[in-house]
């Protein structure tokens, strides 16, 4: 019987990491493929279920990767803004090429 649990965990992790915001398409693909895999298992088609589970897991991992990148970029932008404000308050000139 194909292992659905691994794909479910990948999907849950991606969702917790904010994939709904940063990778909604991949999250939707993974969810649909997982549903289809469950239907295939119920219909006794283990081979098709295996194929769909692998795809769902790959899409879940991709969604997680995109969510992590989105969050760290957002954190960087916020930090750069805080630094710019701090420098303005302290009268320190911004560095060359510094993010606005």
């Amino acid at each position: 019987m194909p292992d659905v649990d691994g794909a479910v965990r990948a999907l849950a992790l991606a969702t917790e990491s904010g994939a709904a915001t940063y990778a909604p398409l991949e999250l939707r693909f993974a969810t649909e493929q997982l549903d289809q895999a469950r239907a295939a298992i119920a219909g006794g088609d283990a081979k098709q279920a295996r194929l769909l589970i692998d795809r769902a897991a790959a899409n879940g991992d991709l969604a997680l990767a995109k969510a992590r990148l989105g969050r760290v970029r957002e954190d960087s932008r916020a930090k750069a803004a805080q630094i710019a404000e701090l420098k303005a308050r302290l009268g320190v000139a911004p560095a060359a090429g510094e993010r606005p």
Binding site: D54, A58, L62, A65, L69, R73, S76, K87, L90, V92
Partner: protein
């Protein structure tokens, strides 16, 4: 013969087909992307595990055929994407860490500046209050005649009756408003005889050797200071300005140093650790020509020095 030419041509075509490399455009495209990632000067050092996973998937793709090939193209495509994104994430995380370090350094700098500004402001207030108090004392002395039996020959700051005649509400109230703040801010510094803390003369009742009721904050600061090196001898020096006679100034400075000693002993410091000295006007910090300089010279200094280093104290 024509059939022979046809046979040779057919054989040549078959040979050409057999030696031509197999072309898989999906494989080539994804391999090119991974090569590009490996050659990227910024990204190549990151996401090695994800890149290895994608390489493995490509190797499987290279030998797969039929429906499995289609499935592996789908999976490999995503693994290559994940490798790229993971490398970008790691690069961005490094940048975030750098920004956090920069922010911490800026906050530290801001904190230092604020502390310095607060210290300068407290110092300015202290000098202002000292000068104001001295002027008030002098004005009071002019208004109230000094009885000859008590005040003759004594410096203004030792002549108790005239100083006591200063209305407390006028002379001491403004100073009291900031005295506790200033005493709470006194800090150890390195002096010629070792680490030391200085108590300004406003901690004492005007013209007397009695500590003011609200001077306890400063004494508590000194207590912490002397307790941190319990093996060291405590040297307490009293100093005055140059107003009045040398003897009277030495007497007042000694009595003020003794008052600080008594306050420390009352808080648990052993008497035998402490030596007190009345140095009078002998070691001024500033010229005695103006009120501000004289205010600076009137002080009690608590010094931590090596045991039995300086004989001659009381």
């Amino acid at each position: 013969m024509p059939w022979r030419y046809t046979l040779v041509a057919a054989a040549s075509l078959l040979a050409a087909c057999g030696s031509a490399p197999r072309r898989d455009l999906d494989y080539d495209r994804m391999q090119a992307r991974l090569d590009e990632l490996a050659a990227d000067p910024q990204l190549s050092k990151y996401a090695t595990a994800e890149r290895a996973f994608a390489e493995t998937m490509l190797r499987r793709l290279d030998v797969a055929g039929g429906k499995e090939h289609e499935q592996l193209v789908y999976l490999a495509e995503r693994r290559v994407d994940i490798a790229y994104i993971a490398a970008q994430t790691a690069l961005e995380a490094d940048e975030l860490a750098r920004l956090e370090r920069e922010q911490a350094a800026l906050l530290l700098d801001a904190s230092r500046r604020e502390t310095e500004a607060a210290r300068e402001e407290l110092d300015r207030q202290r000098r202002q209050e000292l000068a104001r108090l001295e002027e008030a004392q002098r004005a009071a002395q002019v208004q109230v005649p000094v009885p000859p039996a008590v005040g003759a020959g004594l410096p203004p700051e030792t002549a108790a009756p005239p100083v006591e005649s200063v209305p407390p509400a006028q002379a001491s109230a403004p100073a009291a408003a900031t005295l506790a703040e200033r005493l709470a801010a006194i800090a150890p510094e390195l002096g010629p005889r070792g680490a030391q803390m200085t108590l300004e003369d406003l901690a004492f009742e005007p013209g007397r050797a009695t500590l003011r009721a609200d001077a306890g904050v400063g004494i508590d600061r000194m207590l912490v200071f002397v307790e941190r090196d319990a093996h060291k001898t405590i040297r307490i020096e009293g100093h005055t300005d140059a107003t009045g006679s040398v003897e009277a100034n030495r007497d007042l400075s000694l009595r003020r140093a003794e008052a600080v000693r008594d306050a420390l002993v009352a808080r648990g410091i052993p008497t035998e650790r402490i030596r007190v000295y009345g140095l009078g006007e002998g070691e001024p910090l500033a010229p005695n020509e103006d009120a501000e300089g004289r205010a600076l010279n009137r002080r009690v200094v608590v010094i931590l020095e090596a045991a039995d280093k300086t004989p001659g104290g009381v």
